[in-house]
Amino acid sequence: MSFQEQLYKVLIEGDSYRTILSGLLVTLQITAVSLLFGTLLGAGVCFLCTRKNKAVSVIAGVYIAVLRGTPVLMLLLLLYYGVFARAGFAPVVVAIMTFSLNLSAHVAELLRASAQAIDTGQVEAARTLGLGRRDAFRLVALPQILRIAKPVYQSLIVNLIQWTSVVGYISITDLTRVINNTAARTMQPFLTITVGMLLYLGLSYLVYGIFALIDRRKGVRHAAD
């Protein structure tokens, strides 16, 4: 079989590309929604983690340690077959919960470390000028925390995309699962899986591209100032 024929079989025959695209969409969906919830939750956990109240900060610390220290697939299985076994949630919902929880621990830890890395003297300087606690945080600390956190956050997103490839375990037809099915059906594993990898690679570069674009926009604003 020529390469064109193989390609036809893998991508076109029986509207194969549509199936692959729908898998890609599921992957994107789970990633995007988990990213949103995970980031918000992570910010909340980080907030709790830096409270003076010992009990609160210890609990937040344990939350972070447990979720970062265990495989996300374990959490997925635990939630799907254990905690929510009788709740009747759609698999996608459980997947989103899983990845949100897992990502939140990573985001919380990232924000905590970034907050520790900033120069607290600058926050004090803002306070002595008369800025309130909130203003000093929002105008001085936060922009610097975010700037420090950004590169790692970017790779957290890329990792998240890749972690979602395990959702097939709870019978979600995501990109990985679709690729796997297609490979079996067409008996062209090499080509099909290569296509799958290229798609994941494309997604990763999309993330980097978006961040670079945001940077460029900001750069333009700076120059215009």
């Binding site: 120069d119 803002a126 306070r127 002595t128 000028l129 008369g130 922009p143 610097q144 100032d225």
Partner: protein
Amino acid sequence: MPLIEVKGLCKSFGERVVLEDVNLEVSDGERIAIIGESGCGKSVFLRCLELLTVPDRGQILIDGQEITAKGADVDRIRRSMGMVYQKFHLFSHMNVMDNLCLAPVRLLGMTREAAEEKAMDLLSQVGLSTRANDFPEVLSGGQQQRIAICRSLMMDPKVLLFDEPTSALDPTMVGEVLAVIRMLSKRHLAMLIVTHEMSFARELADRVLFFAEHGIYEQGPPAEVFEHPKRAKTVAFIQKIKYFSFEITSRKFDLMKMQGGLLVFGEKYGMRHKRIGRLQLCCEELVYEMMAQCYAPEEPVSMQLAVSYAEADGRCEIELTCSGKEYNPFAQEEDELGVTILKKMAARLEYTYDGRSRISILL
């Protein structure tokens, strides 16, 4: 009413007592230098005034308002105080102009235009008007500190607190920052300056506080504290810094007497002979250069030479003040031979003029 009133201030960290029953009144426009061994609580004291460190006991009143009171509007009281730190702490994600405009625009309701105009005015006063759009990271320490001072001034404070403003600087940049602080002393602005620059403290301050034993151990006008300290620890601290002074009132002054005095001074405190030689050479070149340039042939001469030597770390500083016309020997197109020698030997050269020329050289 005093501008700052501190009553019975106490602060400990765990078992470690840092301040115990400190009392102080600072009047409007007063300039106070705070000196003392490191670790004796000078920074903690300044931080308490701003309530960055919360005292265990005692009251602090700023312009009549008690910042230590329960429910006090701390943010508002802080507006009337500025603080300048050893490490500058400019907002690193903002350019110089944004650093300066942030607080007044947000807190005083200034328009951005008005704030920028004021900022440019301050920046040009400290010689940095071309740096408005730069970010702090590209500026030298001395430039950053000058901008930090401007940032505080943007809020029109009644008092500025300086915590060792020149200690983190390269020796070559100390002068430019001291010059700015000196310039501020012409405004009606109270200042509390923690410093190790003794000749600066002496020249600028109305009152000197020597901190030891958990508080203000001795205080008084600079001439008194530096020349006739009364209590044992002050004496020990001050005497680590030795002074030599020499008055020159005529063109035909006794050079041999000056050189002899410097030699005796240096030998007494164990300076090495090579160093004494350099000290003598510097003083001689400096005196002759200024005499030649500042005075017309028949004009009366009035120059004071002061040398300070810190036994503790071997710092030796020469200061010459002279009347006559303004002349900065270090800023000429072509250096006289004497000036070339001075530049070679000095770690720091500084010239200021405020009716009299003042030259300070760190050997």
